[in-house]
Every structure is written in structure tokens, then in C-alpha cells.
Amino acid sequence: MKKRSNKNLIIIASILCFSTIILSTTIGIADISFTQTMKILLSKIFHINFKLGNIKDSTIAIVWMIRFPRVMLAFFVGGALAICGVSYQGILKNPMADPFILGVSSGAALGATIGIMTNLDFYFLGINSISMFAFIGAIASLFIVYNISKVGRKVPMATLLLSGIAIGQFLSAAISLCMVFSNDFQSIIFWTMGSFNAKSWNQLVMVVPYVIIGFIIIYSSNREMDIMLLGEDTASQLGVDTEKLKMKILITTAFVTAAAVSVTGIIGFVGLIIPHIVRIVTGPKHKVLLPYSFVAGGLFMIVCDTIARSFMSQEIPVGIITALFGGPFFVYLLKKRMGRGI
């Protein structure tokens, strides 16, 4: 019985993913018909020879170079942030944990700030120098936080959390200081606001490998993460190597978050709220929580980004949309859950 309903859920989720991606690609400011969009997508993806001759170059560019990669990037970044949120909430046993709680976002932003200020304008495999600096900054900040919190061979979770907050604040202050002395503070502000605008295949190609490999690594530890929810001492008594697990999860999520943030800037809220929303529906077992959080995070991000880019003729920062919609929806779900007495 349960297996069949699980299978149904998987099918529903897949159909939802597929249709949301396609539908979002047809939505946008430019007036492009559904048939035109489908023709372009099918001919580019499956190399079916549709007559694209009478469609404008700019229309093809909009669908294939602008909208489709942007939607896919939103899906992967949203999913990445969601599974990082799940991981942190599980490992830290803290429902307020989000992917940025250990100073990773400030590290990335500081990296980007340094990248912007040093004016090194180079491209490596299609990714620009600022993204690379952001990536390095994110990893470096987690490395610092981890090593500060280490006591002998153990890393207590509470210390990790507090160090993360402290380092995060310190780095934010460093960024503000840089902004005071820099002539490029406009660029720095743009970067920290988080956006999918002007992101395309290059960014997608950079992010996807990290996300997929990261997901596989985290998913492979799903049972240990379930046990960690009982507490570190209980988990180690039950045979879980807690330190190794923590290191594995922290390093993996650091890379996944760094990849996402280096490409799109900081988009909050998704990593925090999606795990909770999905947990209400699927329960706390990570085997189910992880994949559905990924899907939910991805779809949520697609919807928010589609609104951010199509609602008005100008771009609205996507972080505003995620908070505006996510907040009330989460409150609604909470109330519903409390009413049922779960």
C-alpha cells in the first residue's frame, strides 16, 4: 500500500517538475506564443527539425539562451539550497538553520567583494573571476568556522553554530568596510541581492555537477542523518561515526552552497522554509525528505523567479519574492498542522 502511494508521489512530482519547467519557459515579458516556445525547445533539445526559419533570432535567443537556462538554474539552485537546509537542520538539530548559518554567505559575499575590488576581469571556462572568488570565499569561511570550533578531534554543534554566527557577522562588517572605501559599491550591492538575471548556460553548467554530486553524497548518509536526530551521544552509541558524518555533510553542503551562491548571489528563505514545509507533508525521514525537498525547493524557486522577471517590466530581486510568498504560505501550513494536532 505504502509503496504504491510512494510511487504515485514520485510520478506526481516528476510530472509537476516537467510541466513547471516547460510552463515557466513559456512565460515572460516578451510576447512569445506557446507553440513557438515548444517548437524552439523541442528542436534544440531533441534536434527535431522544426522550421524555425520564420521565427526571429531574438525570439529563439530569448527562449533558448535566456528563459530555459534561467528556469533550469532556478530549479537546481532552489533544490541545492533546500537540501543544504535539510542537512544543516538535521546535523545541527536546529529548526532555524539555513544554508547560510555558518557564515558561508558572508564568506561568498566577501570573496565577491574582493573580486570586484581587485578589478581582475577574467573568465575561466565561461565563469567570471568574481564567481570564482565567491566560491573560494564560501569554502574558506566554512573552513575557518570549522577549525575554530574544533575541540581536540570533536566539533561540538553548539560551538559550530556560535562560531558561524560570529564569523558571519565579522565578514559582513568587513564587506561594509570595503564598500565605504570602494568606488564599486554599487556592484557589491547588486551581487549580494541575489538574482538570476543574465544567467545562462555557463552558470548552469558550473552549478549542476556540484549539486548532483552533493545530493548523491548527502543522500547516501540519509539513515545516519535520521539517527543524528536522536542526539549526538545516542547516535554514536548506535554506531554512527558522528565526527566523520559531520565533516562529510559540512564539506559537501559547503561546496553545494558555494556553487549556488557564487553564481546567483545570496537568496535567502528557501533553504530555511522549504525543509519545514516538506517535512510537514512527508515526515522527517531523510530518505524521503531529501529528494522531495530538492524538488519542492527547485519548483518554489522557479515560481518565484518567474514572478521576479515577468511581473513588471523590470526585475524584482528574487529574494523579496521568496520571502513574500514563502512566509505566509509557511504560516498557513503551520496553522493547518497545529489544527490537526500533529
Binding site: 533570432d57 531574438s58 576581469d121 567570471n128 565605504v180 554599487q186 547588486f190 543574465a198 545562462s200 517590466s313
Partner: protein, 314 residues
């Protein structure tokens, strides 16, 4: 009998007093509305700045502070450079301005430094000074004049206002007249052009929207600003919007050509296909001149005109 006499006397006195006041105010308004070329400013002078604030200047200013690059340029252009005792960090023209002490920057004016310098007048532009800073300066007797020109005509009236406040009205008229001549020369060259679609990229696809100063310059040049359908003066456009509007001329005031070429989709626009991309790098003279509503604004207008309609300037 006595009562009527008293009544007549009182009426006469009241009429006299009213007459004196009417005459005085008429005289004052006639002084500030005079349009003759060589007018000497009569103080105290009450003017209304661009934000609608009525400011009274007691006497001819001997010490002036400017916290906006455009006002600093105006002051020097009117020969008042020796009276300027404070400037903002970004005031980089003319060269003589660089030796003046800095009293403010991006984060606002340093009220302490300004009060220490004790100028009579401070010139600012909208956004360069908070209300609190303004009130603080005014409480010490310093007069603050805020400019906010919407277009080139607004720049002219601002320059004339500086001229009036500092008693160099003839010089101000001379300056604005020469600017107007240059302006008319440019506009006559593009009299019969067909309007072109233009996109001004201020960085990360932020653009000059409806009502902004840059937008007014584009409108004057009969250019179609693709960012003017939005609300707000500084909208950020999505790449999709830029590509679907298909500009014929792409002017970037921040991003380099390399940055722009890395953005997928832009290459399908007419501007990119025809190579009509102009990058005006930040920090160059041209970059200042195309955005500053000051005495060199006509040079900025010329740069836009030559970039958008190169064939009219061969």
C-alpha cells in the same frame, strides 16, 4: 465732527501703511524677477530651490560649500572658485577643485566639517544630503540650496540661480547662452533623423527610466529609451526585456564589452549585430559628462548624439 476727522486720519494712515508695504514687496519681487543682462543682486534675496524650499540669502556669499560635482563645476565656471571652501569627494573637475578640502562623499556630507568652515551657502543636489543633515546646517545659520534639474532647461535655471545667489548674474547668462548655442547646433544636425531605440546600461542592466535626467537627454535627441515604460527612475531590466525590445544602440556606462559579450542572448539584438555598442568607462571624463547636470552637460548631449546618430556628424 471730531469723530469723522479721526476716521479720515486713521484711514489715511492705514492706506499709507498698506501702500508702503505693497510698494516694498513689489520692489523686492521686481528685483528678483528682472531679466536684464547686467543685474546686480539685491540682498536679502529670497529664492525657491528645486525642492520648493524658500531660502533667504542675507548677503553676498563669501564662503561657499558644494556637495555635488555639478554645483562645484558650475561655481568654477562662473568664476567663483576662490570662494569655494569645501567640496564633495567626487568633485573632480576642474583641476583646481581638487585642492579644495573634502567635506563629504557617497555616504553624505560631513556636517561637522562644513559647520567648522562656516560658509554662508551650501549647494547640494537631491539625494546628496539627508533632511537631518540639512536641518543641522540650517540651525547654525547656513543656507542650503538643493538642485534637482529634470532636464537641460533645469540645468540652465540652476546655473542662473547660482548666479543670482552669488551676484554673478551676467556671467551666468553668458554661460547658459553659450551652452544653448551649442545645444541648438547639435539639435539642428539631427533635425531630420529617424528615432532610434537606445538602451543605457548603468551596470547590471539598471537603466535610466522615465523622468530621470538621462532619459530627458535621450528624449531631446528623439531617441526611444527602451527603459521608459517602467515605473521608477532607475529600473533594473531583465535580459529578456532588453532582447525583446531590441535596441539599435547599446550604451554601457559601467560593464565592459567583455562582460556584455558573456551575457547569453544579447548577441541577437540589432545593436550587437551591427556593432553599435558604446562603452563609456567609469572614471573617464566622458562618463562624468554624460551624467552630470552641470556646465558640461552639452558635451554629454553631444556624446549621446554622436553615438546614436553617427551619420549626422560625419
Amino acid at each position: 465732527m471730531v469723530k469723522t476727522k479721526k476716521l479720515i486720519m486713521i484711514t489715511a494712515i492705514i492706506t499709507l501703511i498698506i501702500g508702503i508695504f505693497a510698494g516694498c514687496s513689489a520692489q523686492q519681487s521686481s528685483t528678483s524677477n528682472t531679466k536684464s543682462a547686467s543685474t546686480v543682486t539685491v540682498y536679502p534675496l529670497t529664492i525657491t530651490d528645486d525642492l520648493g524650499n524658500k531660502v533667504t540669502i542675507e548677503k553676498e556669499p563669501t564662503k561657499i560649500v558644494s556637495v555635488a560635482p555639478s554645483s562645484t563645476e558650475s561655481l568654477f565656471a562662473l568664476g567663483l572658485g576662490s570662494k569655494v571652501v569645501g567640496r564633495s569627494e567626487n568633485d573632480n573637475y576642474p583641476a583646481e577643485a581638487k585642492s579644495i578640502s573634502v567635506v563629504g562623499g557617497f555616504s553624505g556630507p560631513n556636517t561637522e566639517l562644513i559647520i567648522k568652515l562656516a560658509p554662508e551657502v551650501v549647494f547640494a543636489v537631491k539625494g546628496s544630503m539627508t533632511d537631518e543633515a540639512k536641518k543641522l546646517l540650517e540651525s547654525t545659520g547656513i543656507k542650503v540650496i538643493t538642485f534637482n534639474p529634470a532636464n537641460i532647461d533645469g540645468v540652465f535655471s540652476d546655473i542662473k540661480m547660482v548666479g543670482e545667489i552669488c551676484n554673478v548674474q551676467a556671467k551666468a547668462k553668458e554661460l547658459t547662452d553659450s551652452m544653448q548655442t551649442k545645444r541648438e547646433a547639435i539639435l539642428s544636425k539631427i533635425k531630420n533623423v529617424k528615432s532610434k531605440k537606445v538602451f543605457i546600461d548603468l551596470g547590471s542592466f539598471y537603466s535610466a527610466g522615465k523622468g530621470s535626467f538621462i532619459d530627458s537627454m535621450l528624449k531631446e535627441l528623439k531617441a526611444d529609451n527602451i527603459a521608459d515604460q517602467t515605473s521608477g527612475e532607475w529600473p533594473q531590466l531583465t535580459v529578456e526585456k532588453v532582447v525583446s525590445s531590441d535596441p539599435e544602440v547599446y550604451i554601457s556606462l559601467y560593464s565592459s564589452l567583455k562582460d556584455l559579450q558573456a551575457i547569453a542572448g544579447l548577441s541577437s539584438t540589432t545593436a550587437f549585430k551591427n556593432g553599435n555598442i558604446k562603452v563609456i568607462e567609469t572614471g573617464t571624463v566622458d562618463n562624468d559628462v554624460v551624467q552630470r547636470p552641470g556646465p558640461r552637460v552639452i558635451d554629454g548631449l553631444e556624446i549621446y548624439a554622436k553615438t546614436i546618430y553617427p551619420d549626422s556628424f560625419k
